[in-house]
Subunit: 367 residues, 2 copies
């Protein structure tokens, strides 16, 4: 029975690494998406996600769910994990499918397993506090009657994140506060974000969750039967040579839906752990300014850059030297086959550039 | 005697290709200076200079004076010329030395030779008119009593060129006007440039000259004896295995001086041919705007560039794709190991960037 074994010993980390993010072009490409990039420091974000579990969940219980075509790159980016823990989806079907698959994989190993759904491409500066919060969430989820979402104490009125509204406080041991998760809300406009911050009852939605296999699959059956059927069909094939074939057949039947829409907004079993642990989803190039040091002129540089009378620029230049003369507030990113030069306040349009390049066969190799 | 043979049959072109120009960094480097670059069209400027002589001076009478370390690259950049016509200076001693050496080389082949001193790194759009002017200048120089300089009809009050003030008109056959060259003046300020243009008697100094070997070497003896001694010492070694050794020894004794200072400002034998032939010295990256088409947004592009809402940029991007988002009036130049991003009105500071990089050993390969 759930609860009879210590919850931490049953905890698994499932790192969702299926993203194809275009906002970090030209460094991110379909073959090397954001989670594989060394945006901050010298390790891929995905490797940092995996290594952050050290001391809480051992590597043999850290599973990566990624695109089948990215599996080899993912294995290389997180060399500490057993190869069999890197599982490739035949195609992306959004986060609900990845969560369902991850939970099925854990349940096959341990029917009493507790699943921590983690993101592969976010930054967490305060790893010790994050592990504390996760340990508390594992404890709460381990009782088997609550899905836990990790809410981030908002630091400013961000319009770039979704929010979770907290309801009444829920009793839990330790120093991490838990609340009933009242509702999930989309990225707000500036005024609404300000109200959320002032209200004090809203957290940023980190996209991270903790649940027991049993409860999540029960909720899946209730709120998203096609996903529950996929899990039922795939589970017998896990660990057999049939797995890839069965998974592809079952994934082919699924519609794309996020776990927020499919489950979180429907279940009444959701609680939110609330905490501050230096979290950021690093949504676009200018976000690097929050994570890297500025020089005396306010330039943020990784790689090789020489600047004459230039300020406020974000320069990612590991491929070659960037030489700046008299320019302000630009994003400059050097990749092997392309250089991006973008006004810093227009980094959202990188997606539009990728779309435009996608229409030109000669640039296919750059995407 | 000079004049007894038709002047054109005695004409040689000496292309001065010793420049180390830093203003076209990062494409121009010490090993591949401006004259070797394909700035406009698909041929190096030096090759265009050599080929422009077609129909006037045959390739066997076209000589290139360049740096010894650039001789192989120069030969490759002007493949139509006999190898023996590429002569390397052991080190740069400015234009007076190069002119003296070029004239010595011509005199060794033909004591009655007429030397056309041409630049390797300028653009001439109207080659037929240029050849007409040069032919007329060869005719005038062929009489043996005049040094001829080629003055360019000024098209606007440039502050980037030196000027030549014309005196009274000099009788000459044909439709090219010749004037006494009254004085050479340095790059003027804006107000002075306006006065020169209004006066009508000033031309841009193209840095091109025509003279007979005899008269030039006579003037050299009079106004710059050390250069005349160099010519006397080197001449016996021309065409022998001793040449490089003797040249190095003699060049080592010389001070740097331009032909303008050494001879042109001192001689009273100078006349100026005046003409308009689409000449430009292409002094820095923004000058490309005068020679390449602009797109609908006013961007001038060679190579691969995709631009979203970006205008007035000069992009040289043969190495890789340049992607621009929301940027205006930049110079962007892609080279194998570096990318320059410079405000268009500050391209003069490229030299300062090169100087700064020169102080850092890790960037030596880029210079």
């Amino acid at each position: 029975m759930a609860g009879t074994r210590k919850a931490l010993d049953r905890a698994y980390a499932v790192i969702m690494a299926g993203g194809r993010g275009e906002r970090f072009w030209p460094l991110s490409t379909s073959k090397r998406p954001k989670q594989m990039l060394c945006l901050v420091g010298d390790k891929p974000l995905m490797a940092m996600s995996a290594e952050r579990m050290a001391g809480l969940v051992p590597p043999e219980r850290v599973i990566v769910v990624t695109g089948a075509d990215l599996a080899a790159a993912a294995a290389a980016a997180a060399p500490g994990l057993p190869c069999t823990n890197i599982v490739g989806e035949p195609f992306g079907r959004d986060t609900a499918a990845a969560c369902a698959l991850g939970t099925a994989l854990v349940r096959k190993r341990d029917p009493e397993g507790i699943v921590c759904i983690l993101t592969a491409d976010h930054i967490i500066k305060d790893a010790p506090r994050f592990r504390e919060i996760l340990a508390a969430a594992i404890g709460v989820a381990g009782a088997g009657d609550r899905l836990v979402t990790i809410g981030v104490e908002p630091a400013y009125p961000s319009t770039g994140f979704g929010y979770i509204e907290a309801g009444e406080r829920v009793a839990a041991p330790g120093n991490v506060p838990f609340f009933r998760a009242k509702r999930f809300v989309e990225k707000p406009d500036r005024a609404t974000a300000g109200k959320y911050l002032a209200a004090g009852s809203y957290c940023w939605n980190s996209g991270m969750f903790v649940w027991s296999c049993g409860l999540f699959l029960e909720e899946l059956k209730k709120h998203r039967p096609p996903l529950a059927r996929m899990v039922d069909a795939v589970t017998p094939a896990i660990g057999t040579p049939d797995f890839d074939r069965v998974l592809e057949a079952e994934y082919g039947k699924l519609e794309r839906i996020s776990v927020d829409y499919a489950i979180m907004e429907k279940t009444d079993r959701m609680v939110m752990a609330r905490g501050a642990f230096g979290w950021d989803d690093v949504g676009s190039w200018p976000a690097l300014q929050n994570h890297l040091d500025r020089d005396a002129d306010g330039n943020v540089v990784t790689g090789k850059c020489e600047a004459l009378d230039s300020s406020g620029n974000v320069v990612v230049s590991k491929e070659r030297l960037t030489a700046l003369i008299g320019v302000k507030d630009l994003v400059v990113v050097q990749a092997p086959g392309a250089t991006l030069i973008c006004r810093k306040d227009r980094a959202e349009e990188v997606k539009e550039m990728v779309k435009r390049l996608g229409a030109k066969p000669e640039y296919r190799d750059l995407l």
